[in-house]
Symmetry: C2
Subunit: 407 residues, 2 copies
């Protein structure tokens, strides 16, 4: 937590990864985020992994530090209440993040009747409103046919929901851009962030759409880094290391540490090339270079080799599982100031990440616990809408809002 965005107020009606992570980023930079869920929770409220008490660790991870309010989304009165919360006054409010359909009661057109300068950031599947998730978008843009063994015939899915995460951070960027624009012009906006557009634009930015037009699909090549020297190699003690040499220094360090300078020079003479300054040649001649590196690394112990790599500017890293990585590499979690131990509604206490960026002239406060569903219903209704305790009681009695479930 940093107080950088202090004063900003964001309303979230969303589920799953992209939109909630957008609001998490805003929250961890200091904004107030009020997450409005249907009573009983949205479609992501029980998403796996689950804790022993049944709480979702996934929901818990994506909603840290937010205020939680539970409202009946199915009735006109409940929907009216949601609209009032979204459109509540305040110069730094009127910021709404959602993945609800573009038409319907949370459409920007309807909401803007209540607050003309409203900013809506809407995460979508396809831009036309067709549903899509990270996995189906990834399949559409071809990444599963780029991933995995060179001789594989079937697609290999990403496990990491990369497009969701990217849509979330891009949406957070878009919210701040929209607010900056509103501060200058007074205008609100709806900004839409479809997963499909995030995916295809990213591949375009990486030059891959141009490449396809020029030379067709890039062949699958397993763990080989495209266009430079890089692959996984195994050491004498059976450890897999990812080794990359893009810059001249990384390459000269690698061949020095491995003692293969002469063998590499022989390849250069035979093939009339020089690898020192041209990372592309290190890629096209990988048939000759990989066996040299493979043989040299197979004769070395990982610990000694890693130290030598570090001393010579080689870019490398061991492969871990998440568990072994956290245990072996203290810079990830245990010695990382991003993390603080926090107790959450799951009843578990675990290292919890704050903002991924570090502000060098601000003090980082610890990560915040995740609210329980409906924990702040009464507080938000009173503070944001100015409702009396009598009015709030009536809403509870009518089933229009809910506080903490008894569990």
């Amino acid at each position: 937590m940093y107080p950088i965005l202090q004063g900003m107020r964001v309303i979230e009606c969303a589920s799953f990864i992209a939109a909630p992570s957008c609001c998490l980023h805003l929250r961890q930079m200091g904004a107030q985020v009020i997450r409005i869920d249907p009573i009983g929770g949205g479609p992501d409220f029980n998403r796996w992994p689950l804790a022993e008490n049944g709480h979702s660790l996934y929901w818990e991870g994506l909603n840290k530090g937010k205020l939680s309010i539970a409202v009946d989304f199915a009735t006109p009165e409940g929907r009216e209440l949601v609209s009032q919360l979204i459109c509540a006054p305040g110069e730094e409010g009127g910021l709404f993040v959602t993945n609800f359909p573009a038409e319907g009661f949370l459409s920007h057109e309807r909401l803007v009747q209540k607050r003309a300068d409203l900013i809506t950031a809407r995460v979508m599947g396809w831009a036309d409103g067709t549903p899509a998730v990270d996995y189906t978008v990834n399949a559409a843009v071809g990444v599963p046919y780029m991933t995995g063994p060179a001789d594989g015939k079937t697609p290999v899915n990403h496990v990491l929901p990369a497009w969701d995460l990217l849509a979330g951070s891009y949406a957070a960027f878009s919210v701040l851009a929209a607010e900056r624009h509103r501060n200058k012009t007074g205008q609100g906006q709806e900004v839409r962030v479809p997963l499909s557009d995030i995916a295809i634009a990213s591949l375009g930015h990486l030059g891959q759409i141009a490449e396809v037009q020029l030379s067709g699909d890039r062949p699958r090549m397993g763990n080989t880094l495209y266009g430079a020297f890089g692959r996984d190699f195994k050491t004498a003690d059976g450890v897999h290391l990812m080794v990359v040499a893009i810059s001249p220094r990384q390459w000269s360090g690698l061949i020095k540490v491995l003692g293969i300078a002469e063998a590499v020079a022989a390849v250069e003479r035979e093939r009339k090339v020089s690898f020192a300054q041209d990372e592309g040649l290190r890629f096209t001649h990988r048939d000759a270079l990989f066996p040299l590196v493979e043989a040299a690394m197979a004769g070395r112990q990982s610990k000694e080799l890693g130290e030598a790599f570090d001393a010579n500017g080689v870019c490398w890293g061991p492969y871990h599982t998440l568990k072994s990585g956290i245990a072996a590499e203290s810079r990830l979690v245990s010695a990382n100031p991003l993390f603080s131990k926090v107790t959450h509604p799951s009843g578990m206490t675990y290292p919890t990440p704050g903002a991924a960026a570090s502000w060098m002239q601000s003090e980082r406060a610890g990560a915040r616990p995740t609210p329980r569903l409906g924990e702040h219903t009464d507080q938000v209704l009173a503070e944001l809408l100015g409702l009396s305790s009598g009015e709030i009681g009536r809403l509870h009695d009518a089933g229009r809002v809910a506080g903490l479930a008894k569990d």
Copy 2:
């Protein structure tokens, strides 16, 4: 291109994906971005894929619409010039994005002597300054051991540089947060965005660090979606489809279209469970459900099946290569308003993506061509530093700056 951030001026000294994509996002939302490169280009200037004329399609993709200036980074006079450009006055300037080392001539501490309210966003490998790239960070946090066939013993690298892309958009978000804070307080900041922190914080946000503490590493499971129903299935005509059923509606639509409601009910009776409202049970009982879906889909043609899926709210999508996806799915590129055909320094004309977000109340202008290296050297020196043509000529003669290379 949208004019949302018009007026903002960003200086970029960076290479590869993360920091350049940060500035691309800012540029495509309307900021002016001045990319300063060493004469002859930075370490990413020749990065693959390459066009027939040798220009990098990768560099071209990541630097669209920026102004390009080439300066000698190795001499005190050249470095002084770079510092002056970064710290040039202007209320909406003083925004600097880099992946240069935290110490050294582009350290925030040194720069801030020239402009006290400077904002520096620094993308890093590890937070301590140790080099790392997307591939080595990914190896450290365990994703390659989560990816790929369930019976695989070796790591499977991501081809998509997900952490780079995510660091780029998160850095763009951070730049806007920092500027908002500066507008309120007058304070500049250095904000650091290490790839390693982006990766481990993301896994934490997804609940996976808590999960590891609770139950250890999640087993590899090939193309299976964790925690709900989802996998790739093959149709009678040999097409791979990704099918996902997280919501109750997606599940009921799927079993209806496939005509397996009775068979599913038999599993429910036998195992004393109900799948309709619990996506987790659809995951834990996938040993019984996958064969039913497999057999049903193997008897259907992909075209007919897709139409039925769409009509019944099933979340699905075909696997494509990038080339076949672009050809088959017009919403990706050919009918997508994000794209415009632009001619670039590679000599190629190809569909070029603008901002991935769509602003519903603003008009989208076409994507911009990428500059040639040094194309704007004289213009930037004159406009931003007020140098006379005589002074600019002297800098050229002394080799401190360069314009367009003759090629």
